[in-house]
Symmetry: C2
Subunit: 330 residues, 2 copies
């Protein structure tokens, strides 16, 4: 999608003169119910499979972008990020896509309204908010599809944070990625709750980028993943249409377990779980055995996200005192 | 292999008159380095893939069998087992294969010299010892191949406990299973050590028989297992021939992780690990990072079996104070 890609003509043709002094935007974090796990193109963040997420309401990233001095200046949660830090370099590479000319810098002030260390992919809401803020700054008024493609170039899962609610990221098949974007599903589910359970606030030892790449290239179980993801995606769509919570929860949990399973078989193995992860998993299964329909999903980290319905919020809070509950549609 | 199976003519033709008052035998337990995970035939215990194990020296089962009263009487570790218990029913079904006529019972006195709750498949050494004790009782003098087939009918992994050292169980392809038997490899490896780490002595919630069946039938990742097992088997054979410990350990660990991974994706999921399992796994990886070549394998349970070399026994014992060390070839 850089200017030397003919298919990205729309991006090359976009205005590079600011329409207003500052662009501002908010993007919600999202939790994948069917995971994005494995890229078919590393540079363009093109996924092997489609994925499906639910957004996290007010938990997300708020970003303000202005045209600044010669170099980019990135502030994260009120602190300057050194330009050599991974986060700043990734942001600058993304800004290169829209930079009018070398030597022009941006000031980016970004704040994550996310519980620290809850394993919420801040890069998803972060790059989505930055794409939206740039659209606002330059007055492009891109449609959701193009915003999703632009955000995807910063971080794959950011494609799913342009819109709210249930969002499906279509893997697409084009080598240039112009059919690889996310779309919101029409369904709402006001009773749905997400419970964030923090097991560890530590930085993970293996980045999800590295883990999915290692898994795709070395795990003997990865060849079975694409069909699993495709089947789960269809089950999740059906569960959302029918408001079948048991099907939604069971499918999301199985999808997460299968994702982690594929990386256990990577060489060397990747295991994100800590002892407390296992404790919580057994706790969730115990609650289900006692009749409370609660399920979990786990991203590339040790923390669980619980899925349950509003009516069971009391039981869940009693069993998991530290849980932070989000109502994606309330 | 019952008398109505034409291919089991050799079994039907065996003497049914005792050659001595009592048959006695010992069989060592075995630890699979490439797991037996999934049956292509439930009744005959025919596996989907070949597997490879190492035996545990003096840790195993000692069994005495005599012809007794009208019904079978089973003693396990000095205690009478009620005939309706699962263990007794399984033993009696196995004894049916060689029973001269209905109404004739056996007395079986079987003792496991295995650390309680170490997750050592006592059914492997148990059915191997029973097959050997029956051979002794009747004076059949069956060869190792036939003994392995007979033991397999009691428990699949028992086929690998007829012989000692490294043993490969050939999956075979015949529907009657007469080419599905285990053979000892010629190689010895005196420096090899197995460390038994007990995390839980509790009976597991899901039997390995049930778990492998559920996984084979419902896990989206199981289709990738047979090729993984085949590849690991070849790597293990090569590691044993070359005495390449790093290759042996890495392959055995990856094989175990992949086995557990396939059942995580079963419906409902099967997770044998307890929090302490994860602690030990991270401990093993920590030791490796510090330069000690130690690997683990885990069977259908929560307990780890460490693989290391004699020279590292001190480091391993210091890191895992409860470890019980076995020298399979010493």
């Amino acid at each position: 999608l850089s200017t030397d890609e003919p298919a990205a003509a729309w991006l090359a043709g976009l205005a590079r003169e600011a329409a207003r002094p500052a662009g501002q935007a908010f993007a919600a974090a999202n939790i994948a119910l069917c995971k994005y796990w494995g890229k078919r193109d590393e540079a363009l963040n093109l996924p092997v499979t489609s994925s499906l997420s639910v957004s996290l309401g007010e938990l997300g990233t708020r970003t303000v972008v202005t045209v600044g001095e010669h170099a980019d200046a990135i502030r994260l949660n009120g602190e300057d990020v050194p330009p050599e830090a991974g986060f700043a370099r990734r942001a600058s590479r993304f800004l290169d896509l829209v930079r009018p000319a070398a030597g022009i810098g941006y000031r980016v002030d970004t704040r994550n309204a996310l519980p620290t260390g809850a394993g919420l992919a801040s890069s998803a809401s972060g790059f989505a908010a930055l794409a939206l803020a740039l659209d606002h700054l330059y007055g492009w008024e891109l449609d959701a599809r193009r915003l999703s493609i632009l955000a995807r170039l910063g971080s794959g899962s950011a494609s799913r944070s342009i819109e709210a609610g249930f969002v499906e990221w279509h893997a697409g098949t084009r080598p240039d990625g112009l059919d690889s974007f996310a779309e919101a599903l029409p369904e709402q589910w006001p009773e749905l709750r997400i419970g964030l359970l923090t097991v560890s606030a530590q930085q993970k030892a293996v980045s999800s980028r590295e883990a999915m790449q290692r898994t795709r290239l070395t795990s003997a179980l990865y060849p079975a993943w694409p069909a699993k993801a495709q089947a789960d995606l269809e089950l999740l769509r059906r569960a959302i249409r029918a408001r079948d919570f048991e099907l939604l929860g069971r499918t999301a949990e199985s999808n997460a377990l299968a994702m982690h399973a594929t990386s256990l078989a990577a060489q060397p193995p990747v295991l994100y779980w800590l002892p407390q992860t296992i404790v919580h998993m057994h706790d969730v299964w115990g609650l289900r055995e006692q009749g409370t329909p609660v399920h979990f999903t786990i991203d590339a980290g040790a923390n669980l996200k619980l899925l349950f319905l509003a009516r069971d919020a009391g039981v869940v809070a009693a069993r998991f005192p530290g849980v932070r509950v989000v109502a994606p549609f309330a």
